[in-house]
Symmetry: C2
Subunit: 254 residues, 2 copies
Amino acid sequence: MQRITITPCQIHEDRIAFTAEQHHYLTRVIRLRPGGQFQAIDGNGRCYLAEISSELSPRTAVGTAQIVQIIATSVGGANRELPQPMVLICALPKGNNFDELVRACTELGVTTILPAISDRTLLNPSPQKLQRWRKIAQEAAEQSERLVIPIIEEPQALKTIFDGLTDLAHKYLCEARGEYPHLLTSLQSTQLIDLPIIIAIGPEGGWTDGEIQLAIEHGFQLVSLGSRILRTITAPIVALSIVTAAIEQGHSYR
Amino acid sequence: MQRITITPCQIHEDRIAFTAEQHHYLTRVIRLRPGGQFQAIDGNGRCYLAEISSELSPRTAVGTAQIVQIIATSVGGANRELPQPMVLICALPKGNNFDELVRACTELGVTTILPAISDRTLLNPSPQKLQRWRKIAQEAAEQSERLVIPIIEEPQALKTIFDGLTDLAHKYLCEARGEYPHLLTSLQSTQLIDLPIIIAIGPEGGWTDGEIQLAIEHGFQLVSLGSRILRTITAPIVALSIVTAAIEQGHSYR
């Protein structure tokens, strides 16, 4: 069934009011007729089964849909979300690689991405880039049948990001140099219940000593992702793969 | 220090004979002079420190280098290789995505990639594609400072691949549908010493029932990568991240 993404403020009682873009999409592109059903996700973990209202036609400017049913935090019976928030702090890599990183991390269940301007980050991306990443996150969430669309914040200085973090979280800074325990070992020696898991991944060239010190002061544990050299676009995927596996390993899946 | 990749047959006693391409690269592109040093890896786990011979000049057609030292299975003191082979059987995805998959899996330490033609694989790639993947694997191995260049076999039917596998291996077939234990759980409940770890990842749409049956007959365990829907190009990266973490988690890294 077709799925669209809405914002919670589009819901008025038991109806969904479309934007002009959604109206065009539903009536012109996929040509749903009155009575036709679709799913609407609000990005906060709710999915609605909705039905096109009878007054909707391509000629009217804006239409609405009747909410038939709320399918909370599940699609087709499967809950794709992790039991706790998974936050990625990622130094911006060179080039356009952040697109693919946003896509893969969304598939992996990330809930928030905080792009960081680190000592070794050269570029400060344009506002258009941020819009693009948010669109990619939305598309990837839809394709992965997730109900939570990851929040992608504006790029900020690492210290600003660290200062804004809650103390009630498990915080891991991944660092290739130095003798640190493996991320998996650290995760498995911790009770991971409920609290957000925050992972920080450095830029090409790694974190500076000052940044590592700052992370320690903000309660981060230093961890390794293994003995290989990973690109900045591969490292977050590896780290989030390990986090999700550590959280979910006790389960069997249908 | 600059690194090039050679084949073992380019070594004659204590000298390396260049190909015309390497000769051009060393003398014209990076402009090494006689006495200049570089590293040469043979793709079998050996790295040589070598020195440009005095007779080498851009005008001579072919040159040689003197081997100064053999740096066996280590670069800068760090061993990047896993203690056992890690083999990926991967159904060919649509489009050109296999390039990025080869690159990321090489970074992650894969030793052999076996592209599989499965029941739901539509395309059979051209021989040019295979050459391209091998070149990407070589480049990615150099960038990751690996000494082993992954072997990439020609695409073959899944049954042919399964028939060619050794019995002495840990074999895991990743499958999104069905209630299977998590790959990490399966790995951690097994003594993983020495034997190759073989991971099979299906195409878009998953394995067919016949393929799953075939895998079971060939000694594969069915495992899950978690509750999210992963693309065919993300799933191998996730699986290999979990394998390397399970192998290496007991270690600390310098």
